[in-house]
């Protein structure tokens, strides 16, 4: 089994380097790494060190929405950047079904992969099979979502759901001077990123007793659902009685803004919104000028995870948890006491790009419709 070495900050800094290459705006070490009140653990991977080219199996949970599609492109981009080290790259897709993903992983193991890269469909259900994979001597790197047991993987690559949610919720509460009636629009019910973000946001709002959460509605990270749900809330509450909308992503956040526009509320009269990821959300904020904070759950974690996987197979120490940088994007003049912008909205939004574009891919000149890279097989 692997050895956990604590307090090896130098090793961690080396392993974090791949994340820095894709940063814009803030390009320091990830804040979750710097501000972690505990020691950051670094894993000795020398027992997995081998001669390339390597065979890597990637068990994907799903490609069910725009973010997941871009995330998969980021994974492919990461592989294309390591063609001299990765000889074979095998992909399975579970379409969101954890039981299929377990079978997929068994099929990958039968193909004698050197390392398993996995985006688990759920945090709990994949734990037993990943534990078995590790005990079989095949290192596991989880990306986007982790499983419960630390012993079931070598490293977890993320952009930190909790940090993203705490920062956007804090911005919302401070923008409203600590009082107001707000709506929460989380993502997909039961999906661990959505639940973690919602819980972290609620922690923040609980610190502001005069913030009243008038409704919480899951949206499945769908712009159409976001619009439909917010239209119903506006109908019930009245647009003027909603002071802010906290969305954990611009996917549904853009739908909410469109619901306000549909109700005749435009420009700066649209209440403050949060939610990154979707270029369309940034475009709406820029176009209408309402107070806005966007933080991407950057899909570039895909490429970072591939780089880290190669590190593991070369025996380089890696952090047990790799937090990839995110950028805090805030509309002009709307910074708050605790939350400052890493990048002004005007500099970040891509007005000449499609509204469907998912931001933070880390891929140069990224165009999802024509994306193509050279892969090993």
């Amino acid at each position: 089994m692997f050895t956990k070495i604590t307090k090896i900050m130098f090793g961690a800094a080396i392993a974090l380097t791949p994340a820095l290459a894709i940063a814009e705006g803030y390009d320091g070490l990830p804040r979750t790494f710097l501000w972690n009140p505990n020691f950051n653990e670094v894993i000795d991977t020398s027992e997995y060190a081998g001669e390339g080219p390597f065979t890597i199996g990637f068990s994907n949970a799903s490609q069910g929405d725009g973010w997941l599609g871009t995330f998969y492109h980021s994974i492919q981009y990461g592989v294309s950047q390591n063609l001299n080290k990765i000889g074979k790259f095998i992909v399975t897709d579970a379409n969101g079904d954890p039981t299929k993903q377990i079978s997929d992983i068994q099929d990958l193991l039968e193909q004698e992969i050197d390392l398993l890269l996995v985006n688990p469909a759920t945090a709990d259900a994949l734990d037993p099979i990943l534990g078995r994979t590790m005990r079989r001597g095949v290192p596991v790197v989880t990306v986007a979502r982790r499983v419960d047991s630390d012993s079931s993987f070598v490293s977890f690559v993320t952009a930190s759901d909790t940090a993203l949610a705490r920062m956007s919720a804090t911005w919302m509460a401070e923008s409203l001077n600590g009082e107001g009636r707000i709506v929460l629009l989380p993502g997909l019910a039961g999906a661990s990123p959505a639940e973690m973000r919602l819980q972290a946001a609620k922690e923040v709002f609980a610190q502001f007793p005069d913030i009243q959460i008038i409704d919480t509605q899951y949206t499945g990270w769908s712009p159409a659902n976001g619009r439909q749900i917010m239209a119903a809330i506006i109908q019930r509450e009245g647009a003027n009685n909603i002071d802010g909308v906290w969305a954990d992503s611009g996917l549904q956040g853009s739908g909410s803004v469109e619901a306000f526009i549909g109700a005749g509320v435009t420009g700066v009269d649209i209440p403050p919104h949060t939610g990154g990821d979707l270029n369309g959300m940034y475009q709406l904020a820029q176009e209408h000028g309402f107070p806005f904070a966007g933080i991407d759950y950057t899909p570039s974690i895909g490429a970072a995870a591939v780089n880290l996987a190669v590190d593991v197979l070369e025996g380089t120490p890696v952090p047990q948890r790799l937090d990839v940088n995110f950028q805090v994007v805030i509309s002009k003049g709307d910074e708050t006491r605790s939350i400052s912008a890493d990048v002004p909205l005007l500099d970040y939004v891509a007005m000449d790009q499609p509204s469907e574009l998912i931001m933070g891919s880390g891929i140069p000149n990224y165009d999802p419709t024509n994306f193509s890279v050279k892969l090993p097989n």
């Binding site: 897709d93 079978s103 039968e110 078995r132 639940e195």
Partner: protein
């Protein structure tokens, strides 16, 4: 070999014609596997597939019994889900209850199946509607209780889904035994043959002294039992009760039934065909994974195979 020659062998060796299509498809998939991948044709991989097929196998046995009596059970996936949550939630609080809860969960499945059958008989409403209603009630109840995977089971229970005797998976052995017992029951027991009679012609069955209602109640109760058994398998495999684990199972359980030659409408078919259908679906999924084929293309291929199999069966079946 043309169809008339196949027909000769069918008659010569008393082979059930409904099995021909699925056997031919199995031969095609296995042959393709040997040609396309050097790792597909290993005994280790086949045992792997047998292990992976078990959950679908249990669910399909229940669906097959209901289809034989002329019904359909759209609550199977929901019973699977509810069973996993019930078992994992209770055992999480009271680990000592693991073994009683295995039986308790199977009993829960029987009760839900019995209710499905009872409401179908008493109201005369089509089972498609009744079981869809049951599914909705169960899904809603489970989601009220938890939105996320919940609970846990002792580590040793993983052995049901991952354990091996020799190199043969325990869950696969249990599945094959279940298929064998059900086949013997349907073929050699009067009560078993009554299922075909009720499914083929309920009025004639009634006139010949068969208590149709009891037979239908039995079939739905058995369906609930096997759905709960599939639930136990999934708890063993994932270690948790998952409020969405059964979502794909309902439709998935119908596919092997169709491939196996059971006629939707009841009265005909061989449960061994369903067993082969389960293995075919699992082997196909395994092979496509080996070929690095996208899941979306896997769906297309599965759909095409179902349509081709049913078309061939419908048009050529009488000639065999």
């Amino acid at each position: 070999m043309d169809l008339s020659r196949i027909g000769y062998f069918v008659r010569r060796f008393s082979l059930d014609p409904s099995l021909i299509i699925v056997i031919v498809l199995l031969v095609v998939v296995v042959t393709a596997g040997f040609l396309l991948s050097d790792r597909f044709g290993t005994m280790r991989n086949f045992m792997n597939v047998l292990e992976q097929a078990s959950g679908l196998g249990y669910a399909s046995i229940g669906q097959a019994l209901v289809v034989i009596v002329g019904g359909i059970d759209l609550s199977i996936g929901s019973v699977v889900t509810a069973s996993t949550v019930l078992m994992a939630a209770v055992v999480n609080v009271h680990p000592a209850l693991m073994i009683p809860m295995i039986f308790g969960t199977l009993f829960f499945g029987v009760v839900i199946g019995f209710v499905n059958g009872y409401v179908t008989i008493k109201t005369g409403v089509h089972p498609l509607i009744v079981t869809l209603g049951t599914a909705s009630i169960l899904n809603g109840t489970v989601l009220i209780y938890t939105l996320q995977p919940t609970g846990s089971v002792p580590y040793w229970f993983e052995e049901f889904s991952y354990g091996r005797i020799g190199n043969v998976p325990i869950s696969g052995i249990v599945m094959l035994i279940c298929f064998l017992l059900v086949w013997v029951f349907l073929r050699y027991f009067q009560a078993g043959r009554a299922l075909y009679a009720v499914g083929g012609n309920p009025e004639a069955a009634h006139l010949s002294g068969i208590r149709s209602n009891r037979v239908i109640l039995f079939a739905y109760s058995a369906s609930g039992f096997f759905a709960a058994l599939a639930g136990a398998y999934f708890v063993s495999r994932t270690g948790v009760g998952d409020p969405r684990v059964g979502d794909p199972i309902t439709l998935a359980s119908i596919t092997p039934v169709i491939l196996g030659g059971l006629i939707l409408g009841g009265g005909k078919g061989n449960i061994l065909g369903v067993c082969l259908g389960v293995i075919l679906i699992s082997l196909l999924s395994n092979l496509l994974n080996y070929m690095n084929v996208s899941t979306f293309i896997q769906w297309v291929i599965q759909g095409l195979i179902i349509i081709v199999a049913v078309s061939v069966y419908v048009h050529k079946g009488k000639k065999l």
